[in-house]
């Protein structure tokens, strides 16, 4: 995708997020999004999700890149996991599902269980156990699907999870970067304008340094997203998502601090980004837990993974 095409797409997507009240996926479809993804999936994912992050809005766009295709060629949405890579556990012959859908259920959905298998759950069952999420981020549009099921009542499908999970993590990492940079812009604007003690808050060293540190971390995260796109490796996608989660965590804390009390209210847009960021971090495993997992793997292998060639 050349730079002009990217600019064009970016402004269309931005416009869509700014004007559309509902889920933007329909708008994306009419924009020919599926063709864009087919042509250059890495660039498409980075562009769309960075913009979604910047807009601070939820959509089911993740389903357009992270989905499951069964042997018959039919595609199914994924029941996305929070706090882990699996949305279900198999315990004592029972499939315990606790995962989210990005939109109101309207089809059968696939969940990855901790046994690594993919279970296709019937639409009626999913619908019966789905409830709209309020929680920490009522604007998340998520539907939580929580149910216990006999695995025999599902169809086990053959899925290359590593691909699905890697794409999802790259998309989420890009969205985190967009989200973090948006928070940073908000905070930068506010402390540039607001005066205390006869000078702008942003003329003081401490808030300046905190925001500069956030900027540096987000810069590192953006490069990791790009590198993960190039390599396509699972570890790189996991690393990008974890680092982006860490970067946005730091950014969120700094921005909330420098924006002061108003930044903690419904009168300020910052909390919307903060809420969204926590959901994004939790999807497919939070950064802190992921870092620990990666560390344990390195210790077990007694080696640092070899970096990809430039």
């Amino acid at each position: 995708m050349d730079a002009d095409t990217q600019d064009l797409l970016r402004s269309s997507i931005r416009e869509m997020f700014a004007t559309e009240e509902g889920d933007i996926v329909d708008g994306l479809r009419s924009l020919g999004w599926d063709d864009v993804v087919a042509e250059d999936p890495d660039a498409a994912v980075e562009l769309l999700f960075t913009e979604q992050g910047a807009a601070g809005k939820a959509s089911s766009a993740l389903d357009t890149v992270a989905y499951v295709t069964d042997k018959g060629g039919t595609t199914h949405p994924v029941l996305h996991p929070l706090g882990s890579v699996s949305g279900a556990k198999v315990q004592a012959g029972c499939l315990e599902v606790d995962a989210v859908l990005l939109a109101k259920p309207s089809a059968a959905a696939v969940v990855r269980a901790d046994d690594g298998r993919a279970y296709l759950i019937d639409e009626n069952v999913v619908t019966a156990h789905a409830s709209a999420v309020g929680g920490f981020d009522p604007a998340s549009r998520l539907y939580r699907v929580k149910l216990d099921l006999d695995p025999a009542a599902t169809v086990v499908v053959d899925v290359d999870w590593s691909h699905v999970v890697a794409v999802a993590r790259r998309a989420l990492a890009a969205e985190l970067v967009g989200n973090g940079n948006a928070m940073l812009q908000l905070a930068t604007a506010q402390i540039s304008d607001r005066h205390q003690f006869g000078r702008p808050i942003g003329a003081n060293q401490s808030p300046r340094h905190r925001l500069a540190e956030s900027y540096a971390l987000l810069g590192g995260a953006a490069e990791l997203v790009r590198a993960a796109g190039h390599s396509g490796s699972d570890l790189d996608a996991r690393t990008a998502k974890a680092y982006a989660g860490f970067a946005v965590d730091t950014t969120s804390r700094s921005c909330l601090q420098v924006c002061g009390a108003i930044g903690l209210t419904t009168e300020h847009v910052l909390p919307g980004y903060v809420k969204r960021a926590r959901i994004l971090d939790a999807l497919y495993g939070g950064w802190s837990a992921t870092a620990e997992e990666i560390g344990a793997e390195l210790l077990a292998a007694a080696a640092v993974p070899v970096g990809h060639r430039l």
Partner: protein
């Protein structure tokens, strides 16, 4: 060099050559007990790398290189570090000053760089002074144009890496008035065996004598040793600092990654079980290294494409000091009593590395200076003033 070269193929060839030389180079993989031994190791490895053609990639033929992209050389050095070798000390300065000499003084570069690239000469970089650290433009060392084709240099440099034993120094001095700040500066290549040069090694807290003070008293330097134009020293210095954020940062990243690798091996040989605490520390360290590698790779690509990288490289510098300090902090905690109490060469070298990593957020513009650059020039926050706290 003509036509396209296959980087992958070269890197494979290098890996094979290095592995074939495992026995020959074995002494160079052992930690050096002191700075002198380390420099001797460094020179031996420089010679081997140059004679094999490996470190000649990315340098123009006129200065002893074989052309091609500097990215090839960078990846060769990364492989070298991960194979258990100390990236030659000679390169730490050379990779920073070399490209600027090539660009701003091609004739000088052709005459003097080849010996430095082969490791037959050790170069140093004379920027910092007692009264000019992060505030480099306050430097006072004077270089007076005597009008007879020579400069007379007087003053003092400090924190000069390898200053006590280097053969030459890339010196930033003032040819104009102090009030001119960064406008009245000149960059010169000065021989450190010239009459009037005195040096005093400075021992780091670990005891390692790697840094030095260098004193200049009526040192005569030919005008043919100018790097760039008189009055343009600041521009050369800024150009040079880009490489400190590019190739130098890449080498430090490779070295820090090699340290993590060594730590993992040591832990694997030990009796301890993996605890969640050690896993968390190792995992975070890896994340910081990965971010640094991705970021630095992107900067290297821009430099290779002759793009000016500008204030954005402050990000690289910030990520570098975080990653480097993280690796060594993790190592010190994990190695525990052994690192604190043992007088073995290995334990001492971990302590050296730990102290050295503290410098990562001080040299080349302290962490706080990098924050200010990002805040001023990228985020465009209101400037800090004298009332700023």
């Amino acid at each position: 060099m003509t036509a396209a070269v296959d980087t992958g193929e070269i890197l494979d060839q290098f890996a094979a050559a290095l592995s074939a030389a495992t026995e020959e180079l074995a002494p160079l993989r052992t930690p050096a007990p002191d700075a002198a031994t380390e420099l001797a190791h460094s020179q031996a490895l420089m010679n081997w790398l140059y004679d094999g053609g490996w470190t000649r990639w990315g340098w123009p033929e006129e200065v002893g290189g074989v052309g091609g992209s500097p990215l090839i050389r960078c990846q060769i050095l990364e492989h070298l570090a991960l194979a258990g070798y100390h990236i030659p000390d000679h390169l730490l300065v050379l990779e920073v000053v070399g490209p600027a000499v090539v660009q701003h003084a091609p004739v000088l570069a052709a005459e003097y760089l080849p010996a430095a690239l082969r490791g037959d000469e050790l170069w140093s970089q004379g920027f910092s002074e007692p009264e000019a650290g992060s505030d480099l433009a306050a430097l006072r060392t004077k270089a007076v144009d005597r009008g007879d084709g020579t400069y007379l240099v007087n003053g003092q440099k400090i924190w000069t890496s390898y200053g006590a034993c280097a053969d030459r120094i890339v010196l930033l001095a003032r040819s104009g008035a102090l009030a001119d700040r960064h406008r009245g500066l000149v960059m010169l290549l000065v021989d450190l065996n010239a009459p009037g040069v005195e040096r005093r090694p400075i021992a780091l807290a670990s005891g390692r004598e790697e840094l030095a003070e260098v004193f200049f008293a009526d040192v005569v330097v030919g005008a043919d040793r100018l790097i760039g134009v008189d009055g343009g020293g600041w521009a050369v210095a800024m150009d040079l600092l880009q490489y400190e954020r590019g190739t130098y940062a890449w080498m430090r990243m490779a070295t820090a990654t090699a340290y993590l690798q060594q730590l993992l091996r040591i832990l694997a040989e030990g009796p301890r079980e993996t605890t969640p605490r050690s896993a968390a520390a190792i995992g975070r360290t890896y994340l910081n290294l990965a971010a640094l590698r991705a970021r630095t790779a992107s900067t290297l690509r821009q430099l290779a494409d002759h793009k000016t990288v500008g204030p954005e490289t402050s990000v690289d510098k910030l990520l570098l000091s975080t990653a480097e300090q993280d690796v060594l902090d993790t190592a010190m905690v994990q190695l525990d009593a052994e690192a604190l109490l043992s007088d073995s060469v290995t334990a001492a070298s971990w302590r050296d590395r730990w102290w050295y990593s503290r410098a990562a957020s001080i040299y080349g513009g302290a962490r706080e200076v990098q924050y200010s650059i990002v805040a001023d020039r990228i985020l465009k926050l209101p400037r800090e003033n004298t009332h700023g706290r």
